[in-house]
Amino acid sequence: MTFSSKLTLGILLLLCLTLSIGGGWTIDQNLQAALLSSQTQNTAFHQRERSALEQALRADDARSTGAAARSVQNYAGELQSSVGAQSFCFSVMDEQGTTLYSSLPRAVRYDVLRSAIAAGSQSVTFCYPGSSRYMVLASPLQGTMEGLWLVSVYDITALFTERERQLRQYLLLEVTALVLAGTAAAWFSHRMTRPLRALQSAARSMAEGAYDRRVPSCRQAEFDALGQDFNQMAAAVESRVDALQQESQRQTRFVAAFTHELKTPMTSILGYADLLRMGEQPPERRRQAADYIYHESKRLETLSRQLLQLLGLQQGGIILSPVAVRLVFADVRRSLPQDFPAAICTDCDPGAVVLADRSLLGDLVRNLVLNAANAGPKDGAVHLACTRREGGWELSVTDTGCGMAAEELPRITEAFYMVDKSRARRAGGSGLGLSLCAEIARAHGTALEFESRPGKGTTVRLLLKEGTE
């Protein structure tokens, strides 16, 4: 059962109960008042009749039962001829219960009269034969002889008919009120729970994958707050799902690129090895095959070494100690090959000491220097610098080479991402160099900052904490 139908039913039940009890009580009170006034009126009639009858008896001086009966009959006859019809219904009985006269309706039974006499003149007896209602009044006739009772019966059916009418009228009123109130309550509760239904449908469509569904704001404060909270939750879920999807896309790209990087050298190695082991190839082809096998194996070896280093960095922490930057720059200079195509210009504060892992920092700077040289600097040089910044030292590697477009920058540290694949490949790049640099920077608690303009050159900056020797 829904909340709105429960609310409607509850309101209806309460209303129905109140109206029924209130109405019933009012109508009952009306009846009681009518009965009371009719009793007063009937008692007066009864008294008048009694004194009239007593007068008649006295006039006839009826001292025996038979005489009394005759006298009463005469009186009744006179009454009937003067007033007409049966407007007065009465009976006269003696103490033993012998009826001297009766003009009572048949429906009023004898024992009712007896019990009315037994109850005495102060009380009222009611009699309900069939659908008629009667009020029975009894009082002793005094004067000529003892033991005579006058019993009058008054028809009060009209009072009860009136009550029935009132009840019917009231019932109609109540039903009308209930229908109106029910409609209003249903409409109101439906309207009130509309935000809940909006929330429900939004939650359902979210469960089915529509993470961008939101609920509109509404006028009721509580529901509005709930809706806002729901929207916040939905936004959080959506951004999380997005992040997961991006991560999964990145993983897919990584696996595809890794497969390619692995299979390409393998294809050459296997192919040339197969060529060599099939038969006696001419010397020139033999030399070429061996050359390719050697270089492609080197490439695989570099790839596996860098990948292992990357995994190692991602898993374990490193130990940082104070290192003089000029020593790191010197390490890099020494590690470069003899035929390195670019000059190295160093601008380093001799007192610069940073917290770092010397060999990892050396690898980082070396990779950046190799990249800078591959960019083909116009002045034929790679510029290394170390300047003081707030909180430490800033290392920078600058070249005046080909540079990169702004949209490339966010992806260049992604594994196997190569801006210019053929150029990178000729230079022996595996596509892992910058990933490795970014990872080393991360292990040092900092990050690489790239600034590049196509055709102008690139600057990579790295802020390191100051160390004391």
């Binding site: 595809a256 390619h260 390409t264 294809t267 082991r277 038969g279 001419p282 190569m418």
Partner: protein, 221 residues
């Protein structure tokens, strides 16, 4: 008769394919980038294009746009094994695909198959008076069919695919009998002498003592 275009940014792989195809007498032209390939496709005609999917500038799938109007058959070379990639290549109109790393016999078989089906070239191998159909696996001498056992035919094919090169015994055994079988050198010698007799090549198949066998290159008169 047009050359085969080999598109691969990896020089070693492009060279490997060129060497392999030259053994069955197919001349190759190499392109090391998508744009280079597109230029060549516009200016020259080819019997077949071997196309790497991952190229630095224009990728293999995009190159199909240039190739389709020329009607040149294409075989994709790919390091990707994902079914989606292969299906995409075939949908774009490639005849076949080869997954890297590949073995030389596989490359040759696929290239021969595509050339024959596209009607670009007959792929019959000829040596002196013998004509060999690698797909139907039949050989004929002066138009007369020569009955060969499957092993003998494989030996003949290996020799024809490596003319002028001394093939090692171990390589021949593995190529013809497979990795797991253990036939003796004697088996190889018997098969070789039967092959010589059937084809009348007593002089053309040379025995290199303790090394292997070589099918001589035909001297052009």
């Amino acid at each position: 008769m047009y050359p085969v275009l080999v598109v691969d940014d990896e020089a070693p792989i492009a060279d490997l394919i060129t060497i392999t195809l030259s053994q069955i007498g197919l001349p190759c032209v190499q392109a090391h980038s998508g744009s280079e390939a597109a230029d060549l496709i516009e200016t020259q005609r080819f019997d077949l294009i071997l196309l790497d999917v991952m190229l630095p500038d224009v990728d293999g799938f995009e190159l199909m746009e240039y190739i389709r109007p020329t009607g040149t058959p294409v075989i994709f070379l790919t390091a990707r094994t994902a079914v989606d990639d292969r299906v995409r290549g075939l949908h774009l109109g490639a005849y076949d695909y080869i997954v890297k790393p590949f073995a030389a016999p596989e490359l040759l078989a696929r290239v021969e198959g595509v050339l024959r089906h596209s009607g670009r070239r007959d792929t019959l191998l000829r040596a002196w008076d013998v004509v060999v159909d690698p797909e139907a696996r039949t050989a004929a001498r002066n138009g007369e069919p020569v009955p060969l056992t499957p092993h003998e035919f494989d030996l003949l094919l290996a020799l024809l695919h490596n003319r002028g090169i001394t093939l090692y015994r171990s390589a021949l055994l593995e190529l013809v009998w497979g990795m797991d079988a253990e036939p003796s050198n004697r088996t190889l010698d018997i098969h070789m002498s039967r092959l010589r007799r059937k084809l009348g090549w007593e002089k053309h198949i040379r025995t290199v003592p303790r090394v292997g066998y070589m099918l001589e290159v035909e001297k052009t008169p």
